[in-house]
Symmetry: C2
Subunit: 321 residues, 2 copies
């Protein structure tokens, strides 16, 4: 909701779970191989088989391999954490009704779910704090750099304040999640590419970009106050400002601006891009009675609507045996 990009530079962020879930099933195989498949991810028909150093991929897309990196690293950090060396044969099945590159943390959700499911299979019941920490480690390994934001919210659900530098780097908020409309447009870059683009902008204009980051940090702290007090009008106004500050960092696009402005014209209290930007998703703060109007306005400028409410649960382990 608040603080994207600035969180990479040590500022706080405010993040809400949504009511959409990723499901990762981890099963033991008799053969020493790893089979990863997904029936309904946007990379449909994904079916990867790893045997030693050999990868057999039915759909060998860049996206599928990126997704596989998260799964492989998740298995790796769990093995390290548990101190085990031999890994059994595994079948991993991923189901998600979310687009992988919506900028809504699908890869973090898959990572966290894989960690929870695989550690359960190995007989360990990890605490949420451990799952979140291992998840963050996976994202750092795959992306080079990552904030703890996505993996923490995928682990805990609800509402979190991310506070980089503290231990743990997040705090659970006991507050009601605000009503959001979520719009989506295909992304032009990955999170890692957008974080790198901001880093390059900061190299060219260090004091200026640092001050924009600090502004986002102040804004996020103020948004936390407004959220806890239930002042949605102010929260919306701060979302508008946060979008503009993200735009100043060069991570908005014409399409995201169009969707944000369309939501505002339709009566949203505030609207901003969410996540790393470069396309992906935007959110509009919107009383229920205006929801369908705001959704129609976002669609009218070419955006899709992701049907979801805020306030989803965190990771859960269920035994299928």
């Amino acid at each position: 909701m608040f603080g994207e990009h600035a969180v990479v530079y040590g500022h706080p962020a405010l993040v809400a779970a949504i009511s959409r879930r990723v499901r990762v099933v981890v099963e033991r195989l008799d053969e020493p191989k790893l089979v990863v498949s997904s029936s309904n991810l946007p990379i449909r028909g994904l079916n990867l088989e790893l045997r030693g150093d050999e990868i057999r991929a039915a759909v060998d897309t860049r996206l599928a391999l990126r997704l596989l990196s998260y799964v492989l690293e998740a298995l790796e950090v769990v093995d390290q954490h548990l101190g085990v060396e031999e890994r059994p044969g595994l079948r991993i099945t991923i189901d998600s009704d979310m687009p992988v590159s919506a900028g809504l943390g699908t890869s973090a959700s898959i990572t966290v779910a894989t960690i929870a499911a695989y550690s359960a299979l190995r007989g360990a019941k990890l605490k949420r704090e451990t799952i979140a920490r291992l998840g963050h480690m996976v994202e750092k390994r795959v992306q080079g750099a990552a904030s703890p934001m996505d993996t923490a919210i995928a682990t805990y659900g609800g509402l979190l304040v991310i506070e980089p530098g503290r231990s743990p780097p997040y705090r659970v908020l006991e507050a009601v999640s605000p009503p959001l409309v979520i719009g989506y447009t295909p992304r032009e870059g990955t999170t890692a590419e957008l974080v790198a683009r901001v880093r390059m902008l900061r190299e060219r204009y260090p004091d200026l970009v640092d001050m924009v980051m600090e502004s986002i940090g102040r804004l996020t702290r103020r948004a936390l106050d407004e959220l806890l007090s239930g002042r949605l009008d102010s929260l919306g106004e701060l979302m508008d400002m946060n979008h503009s500050l993200l735009r100043a960092l060069g991570v908005s696009t014409k399409k995201l601006d169009d969707m944000v402005n369309a939501a505002k014209v339709a009566g949203a209290l505030g609207a901003k891009l969410t996540g790393a930007g470069g396309g992906g998703s935007m959110i509009a703060l919107c009383p229920e009675k205006l929801r369908s109007h705001v959704e129609a306005s976002i669609r009218a400028v070419g955006g899709s609507i992701i049907e979801a409410n805020t306030g989803g649960e965190g990771v859960k382990v269920e035994s299928l045996g």
Copy 2:
């Protein structure tokens, strides 16, 4: 070009004259009355006659009366400056091919031209510094508050850095004016209303708004370096950031965002709203070979193009006698 709104809070601004002129003719009348008329302002057929306390207005619009306020205060400050008490009968004729509320400083131009012409009629040849100072005084009286920006650039032409708090509060720049495309859309509020809106935002979010202002100040100082070095790419990037920071202050509109994004998509190096915002004008930094393409793109989203180049002259007095 840079620093709008932040200049009201003591930060620097960078301003360029354009190649469009306002012409104010001041003639002595035998009768003790004041006749103000304009043949080609957007408030066409403006014809105001003042006799004592009586105003006879052929077109009594709010805009015409606002314009008259600048003219009356301009006469007043010249009389005070020259220490004269009796004012002769006057006919004042205003010609301009610029829209009055484009946010391009037309009222400041009329103010400065009236001061120069009327003082010349009274036999005084005022220095530019005096004309700029009296012009600023007029704008403060009419608007309640005003930066010295518009009246200074109308007086000097060329390129100026505005440095509030210094004496004089501006510095003439010896640099080549960058190539700009100017787009226009009708305004939804006056400069005074927009300055007031920012002041109210600052009352609600003081530290946040101050930091955005400070960011605009830093950006403007950096833009000055880039301009003097002729680095147009960086200048464009800073224009983009400045637009976003003005948007964070709530002074952009959907239409201005559309025009700015349209210019960028067509290849402009940078684009931003210019002036107080709330509609009005935007500028795009644009190499000559892309000019017609950028203009077409701005028109395609409903903006008009104001045909003008940067680098106009300042105020000039010509005798018609």
